[in-house]
């Protein structure tokens, strides 16, 4: 990524929404004082949730929230990609399909009939898919919601012309750094921390509960960077050690990031055992 011509020219930022809860966009607004600083450092050209001034592209950076669930959106993401130098997905929906990817295991026609009296009016795809299944993604921010500190760091790196990097090891390491007593060992809770990517600051164990995987899979400590975590071993412990029945093990992995391949494969394995 290179800076546009002329040092004084600010990078143009666009924020785009697809199927989502708006929580990751709110994380941008939650930057508070840093939001105003960001508004000075960048040209926030397109951010409908925050501004009615919507400048057309091209954009240097696009932050994309939400997953692809309609034919129109599948088309719209192509145009966002065409107008953008660096495309960053923000949050579990954009990065992994989100909680609404639970439809990917279901009969969506039946869903429509369950929710809407006249399902024929509803135009919706049968799947919720991450942005990366549609276009090339330059950088992914995990989390449901994203951590605003990580967002700020990535944007700062881009302004400085540096390749952004974020940790991908497991929540367990964050627990150790914070000195939190392990809820899996000490309380017997089915914590997904051992296979979940750090970045939140180990919020759930810090609040006395089990991690539920909202930052997606960590990159395997066992197999090396970029490789999936050892979900099979953890799932066996849930079943054998904590006495979860197969459907409960399945539900653990089929949650906020259930559609990511490693979690998906694990939940499918346990579904067969139910």
């Amino acid at each position: 990524m290179s800076k546009p011509e002329g040092e004084s020219q600010r990078l143009k930022l666009g924020v785009f929404k697809f199927a989502s809860c708006d929580g990751c966009q709110l994380s941008i607004l939650n930057l508070e004082e840093d939001l105003l600083a960001l508004g000075q450092a960048l040209d926030i050209a397109y951010f409908p949730e925050a501004s009615s001034d919507m400048e057309p592209g091209p954009y240097d950076i696009a932050l994309v929230e939400g997953s692809i669930t309609t034919a129109e959106d599948a088309h719209r993401i192509l145009s966002v990609r065409q107008q953008t130098k660096v495309l960053i997905t923000i949050g579990a929906c954009a990065t992994a399909g989100g909680i609404q990817a639970l439809r990917n295991w279901a009969d969506v026609e039946a869903f429509k009939q369950a929710v809407y009296p006249s399902p024929e009016y509803i135009q919706s795809l049968n799947t919720s898919t991450p942005i990366s299944e549609h276009v090339h993604v330059d950088f992914e921010l995990w989390g449901c919601p994203i951590d605003k500190g990580q967002l700020l760091r990535v944007i700062t790196d881009l302004i400085a012309g540096v390749q952004p990097r974020l940790p991908a090891d497991s929540v367990c390491l964050e627990c150790k750094r914070r000195g939190i007593v392990c809820v899996l060992v000490a309380k017997g809770l089915p914590c997904l921390g051992p296979v979940t990517r750090t970045g939140c600051g180990a919020i759930c164990p810090g609040m006395g509960r089990d991690c539920y995987g909202c930052f997606g899979p960590s990159e395997g400590a066992r197999k090396g960077p970029g490789l999936p975590p050892n979900t099979a071993s953890l799932a066996r412990h849930f079943h054998g050690g904590l006495q979860l029945i197969p459907i409960e093990v399945m539900r653990r992995f089929r949650g906020i990031n259930g559609y990511v391949s490693s979690f998906r494969a694990e939940s499918d394995t346990w579904e067969k055992k139910t």
């Binding site: 809860c21 105003l36 609404q100 279901a106 369950a114 929710v115 919601p145």
Partner: protein
Amino acid sequence: MSEGPDQIRTIAVDMVARVEGEGALRVTVKDGTVRDVELKIFEPPRFFEAFLQGRHYEEVPDIVARICGICPIAYQMSAVHALEQIFGLRVEGALRDLRRLIYCGEWIESHALHVYLLQAPDFLGYDSAIAMAKDHAAVVTRGLRLKKAGNAIMTLLGGRSVHPVSVKVGGFSRVPLRRELAALKDELLWARDAAVETVRWVASFEVPNLDMDYNCVALRHPDEYPLNEGQIAAAAGLQVSAHEFEHHFTEHQVPYSNALHCTLQGSPYVVGPLARLNWNHEHLTPLAKQALADNNIALPLRNPFYGIVARSIEILYALEESLRLVERYEPPPLSAAPITVRSGIGMACTEAPRGILYHRYEVDGDGVIREAKIVPPTSQNQSSIEQDLRRFMPRLLHLPDKEAALACERVIRCYDPCISCATHFLNLEIRREGRA
């Protein structure tokens, strides 16, 4: 602009900005009269009610939070109250106070976001708060700090402000120490003063004159301004419990929208700060009552443009209430009451920042959800938004397309619609047929 008798004039706003979600508006004008007003919501449906089926009740608070990043606590609160009803549990004492406190945090955060970042730019003629900050730096900074105070409450009690993690059926996964809560006090005191200033500031805005005979619907509670508990009150003396909600309030589908419309016995009604304030002002705290008097705010409010005033009064109320709850807090012996799972059906209504939020769950003997139904505030306000636009449109017909469209957007923004909840951008089409 002049038109021939057979011309159709179309005015389009491709995007309603500064709301949460994606919507469009179509207005048809024939011979100078407004015929149809359709608020279209094309935020993609996410089918929450469907995929809650087959999940365990303990997972519900984490799942329903994801309906809305702006008001996750509202979803968690309606859910836990409905589920607790099934299990025959009433959460009382310090745990009830903590729930009230975290909800106050959400009201402060959500209302401050709307007042300062989403709606105030309309009154002062800016595209965004960031643009507004160039001329009104102190005001925008005050708004951001106020919002941060709400986030601080949510983060302390819930671990984070978007999708807090500690709310569970029976109580919390962790409750704060007394000294942790006390540490919030100084900032809340600052925020309380800032909220007084906020009311003064928004009460000075020039508002269009629009007098609507709304049917206001809000919870009412004998002792307090309602958050988690109360009876549903409406015009003509209607007062019902959440159990009877579906007997009186019905959702119907319109072909142009992905959000269901909810009406009361077939008629539009209004939920949210304006309705709550009209019904519950006697339970306001001293400074909030004082602010009404000092700024000559006469109740009941009947103009949607006073929504921002009602919202600001509620920010002040929520801060005073938070300070009271912080002051009297004694940590409870247990962070959550024990649960005895049993099958059954439970319903609850709580007051989300944007109005009443109804949940109904049916659970089997294993604690697994068999059926879920959720009616968010924005679905309930849709019909009223359309009605307001029908009333307001005739005054806009002389305006050029772009200005008429902007004025419509402003009406819609009065309601702080959360379109993510209801199923942003508003695509306004005004079709003019015949003589304008």
